[in-house]
Symmetry: C2
Subunit: 153 residues, 2 copies
DNA sequence: TCCTGATTATCCTAGTTAGAACTGTTTATG
DNA sequence: CATAAACAGTTCTAACTAGGATAATCAGGA
C-alpha cells in the first residue's frame, strides 16, 4: 500500500471533485437547471454561438451526452440549432433571447454564491492549487496517451 | 471575469478529474468492470465486509446508486449481502471467493498501470498536490455547510 | 472524377448520478 | 411503555456518462 503513495492523492481528487459538484450543483438545481445545462448556457453566454464539437470541448460534456442536453435546452426554448453555412455536417448552437436572459439571471449569482467560500483563499494559495491541478492533470493525460499509443503498436 | 480568480481553478479541477476518470476507467473497463464496481471490490478487498452505509462513505458512491451497483455484483457472483447480527436494518456486504479472486487479479495490476504516470512526480510534489486538494475541498465543504445552514434559519 | 479516410452529429446500450419518497427497524424521550 | 426521531436500505425519476455504431458530409489523392 505504502508502495503507491499516489493513491491518497487520487482519493482526495475524487473527494474534492464531489465536494465541488455538491456545492455548485446544489445552487444550480435550485434555479431549475442541471449542471450540464448550466455549463452549456454559461459557455454560450457572450458568444455568437459555436458548433457542437466546440461546445463539447469547452464544456467537458461528451458528444453522446451533448445531444440530449441540447435537446432539452431546445425544448425549453433556451437555445437554437442552426445550420452552419459552408458545412452541412455542422450545426451552430446559439442562445435564444430567453436563453440569454437565463444566462444573465443565473451566471453572476452563481459566481457570487461561490465567492464566500473562495474568499478564504489568498491569491497565492489559489495559484498553488491551480498549479498542482495542472501538474496532476498533465501526468495523467500523458499516461493515458502512452497507454493508447501502446495499443496501436 | 477577473473578479472571480477561482473560476480557472474550478475548471482545472473538472478537467483534472475527467483526466483521471479517463485514465483509470479505461483500464478498469478493459477488465470488464465499471469504475463503481471496481471501487466497491477494491474497498471490500482485505476486509471482512461492511455495511452499505460504510461502503457508500468509503467509495463515494451515493446510497441510491449503491443498491444498483451491488445488485449487479451479486448477479455476477462477486459479492454477498448478509444480515448483520444485532441490527436487522443493516446488511453486511462481503466478497465471495470469486470476488476475492477478481480483487487479486485486478487491484495490483491497476495500481501498476497507474504507476508509470505518477513516477514522474517526486514525493514532495505529491504532497504539495495532496495538500492543495485538501485545502480546496475544505473551503468548498465549508461553503456547502454554510449554505445549508442558511436554509434552516 | 472516384474513392478512401476523416469529420460532424446522432443513436444506442448499460450503467451511474442526485435527490426525494418510502419501508422497516432501532433508539431516545416523555 | 409508547411514541417520536433517527437510521439503513430500497425504489423511483430525470438526467448524465462512456463507448461504440451509424449516417451524412467533406477533403485529399490516384
Amino acid at each position: 500500500m505504502s508502495q503507491a503513495p499516489f493513491l491518497p492523492v487520487l482519493r482526495e481528487l475524487a473527494c474534492c471533485y464531489q465536494a465541488f459538484e455538491r456545492l455548485s450543483g446544489h445552487h444550480i438545481r435550485q434555479v431549475g437547471l442541471t449542471p450540464g445545462q448550466f455549463d452549456v448556457i454559461a459557455t454560450l453566454g457572450n458568444t455568437c454561438g459555436m458548433s457542437c464539437r466546440e461546445l463539447g470541448e469547452r464544456t467537458l460534456i461528451t458528444k453522446g451526452t451533448l445531444t440530449g442536453v441540447l435537446d432539452r435546452l431546445v425544448e425549453r426554448g433556451l437555445i437554437r440549432r442552426e445550420t452552419t453555412p459552408g458545412d452541412r455536417r455542422s450545426l451552430t448552437v446559439t442562445l435564444t433571447d430567453a436563453g440569454r436572459s437565463v444566462f444573465e439571471d443565473v451566471f453572476s449569482p452563481h459566481v457570487a454564491y461561490l465567492e464566500p467560500a473562495f474568499a478564504q483563499l489568498s491569491a497565492t494559495e489559489l495559484s498553488t492549487i491551480e498549479a498542482s491541478l495542472k501538474q496532476l492533470r498533465s501526468v495523467m493525460e500523458q499516461g493515458f496517451g502512452d497507454c493508447c499509443e501502446k495499443l496501436n503498436n
